[in-house]
């Protein structure tokens, strides 16, 4: 008996050592792979400070001389020649009118997502609590809208939006609320169905109106789902290209993806200096947000994928 325990203890420690050893190798391998994985973004960052002519010719080097073959002096001179500070940024910002595009994207994303969260959570609660044919129909239509690709409605939607003068950052919120309602209502209803009705009944007996009941009792319980839906819809709206391109009055308002795409269209060929700088400016806010809200973003994406 004691021998057996000893033996198993030993084999356990052996396997623990082996696992640790393997783990160390895996860590090393994955450190290299994940660095390579994000290297395209790092390359763009470095090249955004280089002169136009040096970007496209060789984006992978920082000097046209080799440190080993040509010596340190030549090499460092090559670096000086290739880099010229933030000129790409001033150029890119000016060409794309970047800050206005950034403001436009931010405005549309924040208020569209806010509208979706507020109205769709209310609607979802109503749909679950009021059992009628029209609420059921609305729910089914929401499910249905989730499988319809945007190309199906792009022509008619953009023309309707145009006729109703929704082609501005405020009007497009209505379009996003309508097209984003499917997913939001679906996710919120899924959650409301799991809340027990007794709490709400108690609140109503205590004299709460439905509005008070919803905002003071129901909405606080829904918080995790609100975060999930907020992340999913924000990722969609912020990165969306075709919908704002077709709906917005493009001469007046551009979102970031539209501004990036225009950097190519207006010149035929691409000014890679300006492009690198604008790409960096477009990516950095996302990376910063990701660093701070990583936990929520990954959980949100996961919840959305499994339910959707």
């Amino acid at each position: 008996m004691s021998r057996n325990t000893k033996k198993s203890a030993r084999s356990e420690s052996v396997s623990a050592v082996r696992r640790a050893k393997h783990g160390w190798i895996w860590t090393l391998i994955f450190a290299v792979i994940s660095l390579l994985w994000i290297s395209p973004l790092l390359i763009v960052l470095i090249n955004s400070f280089k002169r136009k002519a040096f970007i496209f010719k060789n984006p992978f080097s920082i000097s046209r001389y080799s440190l080993f073959a040509d010596g340190f002096e030549k090499w460092s001179k090559g670096i000086e020649k290739a880099f010229f500070g933030v000129q790409n940024y001033t150029n890119g910002i000016q060409r794309t009118n970047f800050w206005s595009a950034f403001g436009c994207s931010l405005f549309i994303t924040v208020f569209s997502v806010a509208a979706i969260l507020l109205f769709c959570s209310m609607t979802a609660w109503y749909v679950v609590r009021v059992k009628a044919a029209y609420t059921k129909l609305f729910y089914v239509l929401c499910l249905f809208s989730m499988i319809v690709p945007f190309q199906m409605v792009m022509f008619t939607l953009s023309k309707f939006a145009n006729m109703m003068h929704l082609g501005n950052p405020v009007g497009i919120i209505v379009v996003y609320l309508g097209f984003g309602a499917g997913l939001a209502v679906f996710m919120f209803t899924g959650f409301v169905k799991s809340i027990s009705i007794e709490i709400e009944e108690a609140a109503m007996i205590d004299g709460c109106t439905p509005v008070q009941t919803f905002f003071k009792v129901v909405l606080p319980i829904m918080k995790p789902t609100v975060v999930t839906v907020a992340i999913l819809e924000a990722m969609w709206v912020w990165n969306d290209y075709l919908l704002p391109y077709l709906v917005l009055d493009i001469n007046k308002y551009k979102t970031i993806p539209i501004a990036v795409q225009f950097l190519k269209q207006s010149h035929g060929t691409i000014d890679w200096g300006a492009m690198m700088a604008v790409l960096v400016l477009a990516i950095i806010p996302i990376v910063i947000l990701y660093i701070f809200a990583q936990k929520y973003i990954i959980e949100g994406v996961l919840a959305g994928a499994v339910k959707g």
């Binding site: 783990g23 160390w24 860590t27 994955f30 994940s34 660095l35 994985w37 395209p40 973004l41 390359i43 763009v44 496209f56 060789n58 984006p59 209310m122 609607t123 109503y126 609590r129 929401c142 499988i147 319809v148 690709p149 190309q151 199906m152 409605v153 792009m154 022509f155 008619t156 939607l157 309707f160 939006a161 109703m164 379009v175 609320l177 309508g178 984003g180 309602a181 009705i197 439905p210 509005v211 919803f214 990165n239 969306d240 290209y241 075709l242 993806p257 990036v260 190519k264 691409i270 492009m275 690198m276 790409l279 477009a282 990376v287 990701y290 973003i297 990954i298 994406v301 996961l302 499994v306």
Partner: protein, 283 residues
Amino acid sequence: MEKTIKKYFPLFMLPTAIAFVIGFLAPFAYGVFLSFCKFTTVTNWKWVGLDNYIKMFSKGADVDVFVHALWYTSLFTVVTVLIINIVAFAIAMVLTKGIAGTNLFRTAFFLPNLIGGIVLSYVWLMLFNSVLQNYHLTITSSPWSAFWGLVIVVSWQQIGYMMIIYIAGIQNIPGEMIEAAKIDGAGRWQMLRYITVPLLAPTITICTFLTLTNGFKLFDQNLALTGGSPNRMSELLALNIYQTMYGMTGWQGVGQAKAVLFFLLVAAIALIQNKISTSREVA
């Protein structure tokens, strides 16, 4: 209680319902209607019955491009589904071993997913073309370089996403089952074959269908990376519909008919997925 809530219809239901009609329902219904019309705007239309659907597949300037786009998209979808799922699964297996740095690696792999398709495509366009220029080529030199360029961009973008789902699935496998299999002397491949993969079936279904619909509906990357070049031979379905609609005067009706067909294809995929998922829940 239900009665009291019901009175609040204008507040709780109406705003969403109105926006839903404007943003989805009316454009959808009218889109179906217009697919049977010859039209230039929503007010200027003439009923032509099934003409658009027939024109879509009969001889004309556009039909070769469309048929090409159909199988080009199918092939693209199959290739990306395989690559994304296999690589994402492999990474997820390693990142559930509990090795040091797991969180950091997961962060890095997931990052590209947050960046939009247009922005990502220009990152890669620079890389592709600066390498290819050494051989006097560009990414759109042939439909096949464009194809693999798109595959790389889309895989890079989506592998992190699917990896997250696979990691969650693998972590949900009960530890006792793995222990039991180990005690029974199962080898590493046997574990994978008889424990991990079967228990991950629901996760695999989700990821397969997500990548399937993503591949089918791909637009932004296609527009930014290749724009359909060369000669519209790297157009995927979504871009083909867009070009028919906005690039060819007089073909709006055919474009809308293509969009309806496109919708039916995507809907069919969604229904098949639903059937598989629910049948598993029953069984």
